[in-house]
Amino acid sequence: MIAAITSEFRKFFSTRLWWVLTLCMVGYFLLMSGGMAATVGGLSSMSPGDSSLEGFESVVYGIGVASGYVFPVIVGAIGVTAEYRHHTIVPTFLAQPRRLVVMGAKAIAALPMGLAIGVAGTAACLIGGGLGFAITGVPTGLDQASTWRNAGLSVLAFTVWTLVGVGLGLLIISQVGVIVFALAFTQLVEPILRLGMSMMSSPVLNQLAQYLPGAASDSLAGGTSLYQMITVSATTVSGVPPLGVWQGGLVLLGYAVVLGVIGYLVRIRRDVA
């Protein structure tokens, strides 16, 4: 198992993808959080005393995990999809014919990678957001414990998303397929479902909406996303409480496990031509 994990690390760091991807993510998060912070700061300096703009620091600092989790998904999936795309799965399976060991190693190796990309992504949001606030003369909130707690949870959420990526990779196999699916689902399908189900006057649907992966992730990350704020304010009307941090984390982890197990059973055990 240790051999397989070592091999996975060497695979990951021996192509250019990891730093290109990290660079893209960090740049994207810096721009988003910085832009958002500057906008909020600019607005609040124009209308001093407007309380509707308070508490936006957590949203700004959490923008990475709330809208950019496609990056850890790609990092997690790439270990599987790149091997199938370039057929290097053949030498891998020849070197370790027990495929469960290979896939287990990919999942374990994804953990520190997820952690690392989580630290980089979260730091980018803190730096971008902090600069944006500081430039526009708004308190950055970086001196508050809750900011750092949320930052820690954001790193954790990134890590779990990386595992979801491994699961998706096992199931979909195709690199492009994973990216298209992840983008379409997280940016289009889920927001519609989540808003729709939260707005309905059915407590069951309100409850179910909390179990969608993005919602679970937002709960895990400390409930800092805009969606979470909108949907929670909608659902609290019907009395359905949002998931807690741990519940959200477990639900998201559940997605990773279920995707991975199905993928392993139906895709990975097949003949390799």
């Binding site: 091999s7 021996s14 020849l94």
Partner: protein, 302 residues
């Protein structure tokens, strides 16, 4: 030693490998031959657990591939097509395999030197020529210093110098007591390298034995063209001449290939019996034509 026993693989109604059995001995280079699509690659993939056979099994020094601890230390494989991540350097390709083989970076560099790729160790494989890819593929097979080597079309893409080099390397490896199995679709390509031959066609073994035995079966042969094939056939049977099935015999109905008799005897006897001779000539019956006659009309399937 490699033992393949009753391997069978069916794809729907198509039987790609049909009850195939053979062995490859240690200390010898065995050629695994057959036309493209005869089932060579499928057999190698079944033997190594990449695809599941419908029946049969393979063993390496008595052990199933899946039961080997660190397979790379026992069986070195270079399957075709050679696969690499194009963005990974040659050294990194080996380093990725090294933990599985339980070897160090030094061994990776050593093997790169052995296959003559030291100068391009840090070059991306995407920029490699076909011959360089073949060498890197071989380096991966040698990495764990295995006692069994299984090389799929190892001569592919090599220049004449490279071919001579690999022949010497394979001979050295076999002389060290290793089992070396090389597959090819051309007998001429491996003729100078192999001790033993396994020839398959249509997913079945059609010949297993030494190269010498195969050569011995090819005595002097004479091709005769006549308008009275029936008469000549009767005469040959009467005198105990051997009638050889010749490749493409059906396209040349006026032609017979005879063996166990000299060209002069045939000419004299036919003249005596009044059978017209349209043409008569000795046939240089090389191994390739035996190979073709063994596999004729049986390939072209995948």
């Amino acid at each position: 030693m490699i033992t393949i026993e009753h391997m069978t693989k069916r794809y729907g109604s198509l039987t790609a490998v049909d009850d195939l059995s053979f062995t490859a001995q240690s200390g010898r280079v065995t050629g695994f031959l057959g036309p493209n699509g005869a089932g060579k690659t499928t057999t190698l993939r079944m033997a190594t657990g990449l695809i599941r056979p419908n029946a049969g099994q393979a063993s390496f020094n008595g052990k199933h591939y899946l039961a080997l601890d660190k397979p790379m230390r026992h069986v070195g494989l270079a399957l075709e097509p050679a696969v690499f991540h194009p963005g990974r350097s040659a050294l990194n390709h080996l380093l990725m395999l090294a933990p599985y083989a339980g070897v160090s970076r030094e061994r990776c560099l050593e093997v790169l030197g052995l296959v003559g790729l030291s100068d391009v160790a840090d070059k991306r494989v995407g920029k490699f020529s076909l011959g360089m890819r073949g060498r890197l593929n071989l380096a991966g097979a040698l990495l764990g210093d295995p006692s069994i080597l299984l090389l799929d079309e190892p001569v592919n893409g090599l220049d004449p110098e490279g071919i001579r080099w690999i022949r010497e390397l394979l001979r050295t490896l076999a002389n060290q007591g290793r089992t070396v199995l090389i597959s090819s679709h051309l007998l001429s390509e491996v003729q100078q390298t192999v001790d033993d031959l396994v020839i398959i066609a249509h997913g079945r073994t059609v010949y297993q034995g030494t190269l010498e035995q195969l050569e011995a079966t090819s005595g002097e042969q004479v091709g005769v063209v006549t308008s009275d094939v029936a008469g000549l056939t009767a005469l040959a049977r009467q005198l105990g001449w051997q009638i050889v099935a010749s490749p493409g015999a059906s396209e040349h109905p006026g032609q017979l290939v005879l063996a166990g008799v000299t060209i002069n005897q045939i000419a004299a006897t036919m003249t005596q019996a009044g059978i017209p001779i349209g043409g008569i000539a000795p046939m240089s019956n090389n191994l390739e034509s035996i190979f073709l006659s063994l596999t004729e009309g049986q390939g072209g399937m995948r």
